[in-house]
């Protein structure tokens, strides 16, 4: 399971970076989405996957007796998902406005701000 998740994370990172490097502005968004998901999976994976052990201390004990599933990575991922969701929504609107105003979806054409004025 861990190996599979590790491979998927790797693929998501690679695909995300590759898409971000393409010229089309829509592929940029896809790259952003893939990369965001890759990061979330990575945090999930690095929090050590433990199956079927909820982090609840039994009534007759004061501390955890055996291994438990760490709840912190899930809290982190939840926060990260919400944030990246907001950013992606913003990105889509930004790209749409850019396309309408500039009339191009080619990132190589977006070079007027670098020119001398």
């Amino acid at each position: 399971m861990e190996i599979l998740l590790a491979i998927i994370t790797g693929i998501l990172y690679a695909a995300g970076i590759y898409m971000m490097l393409r010229r089309s502005i829509v592929k940029l968004i896809i790259g952003i989405v893939l990369l965001g998901n890759g990061v979330n999976l990575l945090i999930f994976l690095l929090g050590r996957i433990t199956k079927g052990k909820p982090p609840i201390i039994p009534e007759d004990a004061k501390v955890f007796q055996d291994i438990y599933a760490d709840p912190v990575p899930q809290a982190l991922i939840l926060t990260a998902i919400v944030i990246s969701f907001g950013l992606q929504a913003f990105a889509i609107i930004l790209v749409k406005r850019t396309y309408k105003v500039l009339g191009t979806d080619d990132l190589d054409q977006l070079n007027t701000t670098d020119e001398d004025s």
Partner: protein
């Protein structure tokens, strides 16, 4: 809970951004509220600064969860100094933006988002939890995305796409590093991380993690190979927005680098060499970039990169004297860079262009304003009694001490380039004969503004210039403060003890 004072500037900005949302339609109210809000935040930050200056590091455990489990806010000397500087710049820029930002932008909640941005900055300085730092960074960048694209002009949107992409990538790299770090140590509290990181056997992975942090924060602070988004986007939004970006957004990256590399990843020779080399290259590439530009705001954008190099270099030398130099430079740079972009906004208002080729004759037309504008320009160069001079002494001294002549050479080169660039700006914009410019339809000339509006444009620049002059002429106070901060940073046990104080008290 007297400690809650340290997060009061943050709460003031939160409160006022919510209040501003309720007065969405009423521009006059918005303008009054934002000035009042920033004044209160300034007072709150001064109170915080005095409290921490007198009583040492203060901490707040949110929700009263004990240190490594809950989120800790730590007001140490570095954090509260930066909060104070944030509130000073925030106050000045708020007054400036009341006149300089056009109504169409103000109507879409400019001030509300502006307060959120300042809140994010203050939160990032105060937090003692590394995931919480990520969250504050996101608040900063989301607000800055809105500010940079608000108005939707052609080149603004284009700049926004570049700014968005690179900053998003930086956040993702930061988050990756954070995930790896959590996997290694099982904690997110920075003081706790500092203790646990040395115990890890797999130090190679720690190194990788440190480099990921360096890349993530490096993109945000615009160091050498990662800075290309900055000159492509900083000149596109209104000058008030550029001012707050230039003054604070790159500096929050520098702050994060200082914090992470003095508290968590300490004393790694490879990283020190890496930091020094990117510092030297930043100084060279930023300086040379500034020389060939013709738009004032682009010139200043490249100077930001050049001067980031000084700070990163001081961190790379990693001695108390060098870090004191870095902190002093940080204090000077926040005020001066904010002021420079306000200045470019005023110049635009005076002559309706920012192109050095077309500008000219400002000295003949407005001698008094020109004298005022000379203060930030020459503080930037660091002509002796002014503020840019003093931190360079510490940096050069330590460079010679460690026989790192590349860095010494780079600092001298950087200062010299800055001098050349400022002299060029002065000669072209103030002394040369002006060329005729076609003014835009909606452009309102400075002479047609009402008296109060003129004051609102000039007061912030004068205010920041006075702060700059104080940093220059009261250099001994700032030097003492920087040395105290540097001592606190180098001896990170103080920080750790302050965070875990409640736990020690309970025992």
């Amino acid at each position: 809970m007297s400690n809650l004072v340290i997060i009061s500037p943050l709460l003031v900005h939160l409160l006022f951004s919510i209040l501003l949302m309720f007065s969405w339609q009423n521009l006059k109210w918005q303008k009054i509220l934002t000035i009042v809000g920033n004044s209160i935040a300034l007072i709150a930050s001064i109170a915080t600064f005095i409290l921490v200056y007198d009583q040492g590091t203060q901490t707040v455990q949110s929700g009263n969860w004990e240190a490594p489990f809950g989120i800790t806010f730590v007001g140490d000397m570095l954090a509260v100094t930066l909060v104070l500087l944030t509130c000073i710049s925030g106050f000045a820029v708020a007054i400036f933006s009341v006149v300089s930002v056009i109504k169409a932008r103000l109507r879409f909640g400019f001030f509300s988002v502006y307060h959120f941005l300042l809140m994010g900055l203050i939160g990032a300085f105060l937090t003692g939890d590394i995931f919480n730092l990520y969250v504050w960074f996101e608040i900063i960048i989301i607000s800055s995305f809105v500010l940079i694209s608000l108005g939707g002009e052609k080149n603004q949107l284009e700049g926004a796409v570049k700014y968005f992409t690179l900053n998003f990538l930086a956040s993702m790299i930061f988050l990756t590093a954070l995930g790896v770090l959590y996997g290694l140590t099982g904690t997110l509290n920075m003081a706790d991380l500092s203790q646990k990181i040395v115990l890890i056997e797999n130090q190679a992975l720690v190194e990788v993690c440190a480099v990921l942090f360096l890349v993530g924060f490096g993109i945000k602070s615009a160091v050498f190979p990662l800075y290309f988004w900055l000159p492509a986007s900083y000149h596109t939004p209104p000058s008030a927005v550029s001012a707050i970006f230039a003054g604070l957004l790159t500096k929050v990256g520098v702050y994060a680098l200082i914090r992470v590399f003095t508290l968590i990843f300490v004393g790694d020779l490879f990283l020190e060499v890496l930091l020094l080399s990117i510092a030297i290259l930043s100084i060279f590439s930023g300086g040379i970039g500034a020389l060939i530009q013709n738009n004032i705001r682009k010139v200043f954008s490249y100077l930001i990169i050049c001067h980031i190099g000084f700070m990163i270099g001081g961190l790379g030398l990693f001695t108390t004297v060098a870090i004191a130099g870095t902190i002093f430079y940080l204090i000077h740079d926040i005020i001066v860079k904010t002021n420079l972009f306000l200045l470019s906004g005023l110049i635009y208002r005076l002559s309706s262009t920012n192109s050095l080729r077309k500008l000219g004759g400002l000295y003949d037309q407005y001698p008094k304003i020109s004298f005022l504008l000379a203060i930030p320009l020459f503080s930037l160069v660091g002509i002796p009694p002014l503020s840019g001079f003093w931190p360079k002494i510490s940096l050069l001294l330590e460079g010679f001490e460690q026989e790192n002549y590349w860095f010494v050479g780079a600092v001298i080169f950087g200062s010299f380039i800055t001098l050349v660039v400022v002299a060029k700006v002065w000669a072209e914009a103030f002394w040369k004969e002006p060329k005729p410019v076609t003014k835009g339809k909606r452009f309102v000339d400075f002479s047609k503004l009402r008296q109060i509006q003129k004051v609102q444009l000039i007061f912030p620049i004068a205010f920041l210039s006075i702060v700059s002059l104080y940093i220059g002429f009261g250099a001994e106070h700032i030097q003492l403060l920087s040395e105290r901060i540097a001592n606190e940073l180098m001896d990170n046990q103080q920080y750790i003890d302050a965070v875990f104080k409640t736990r020690a008290d309970a025992r």
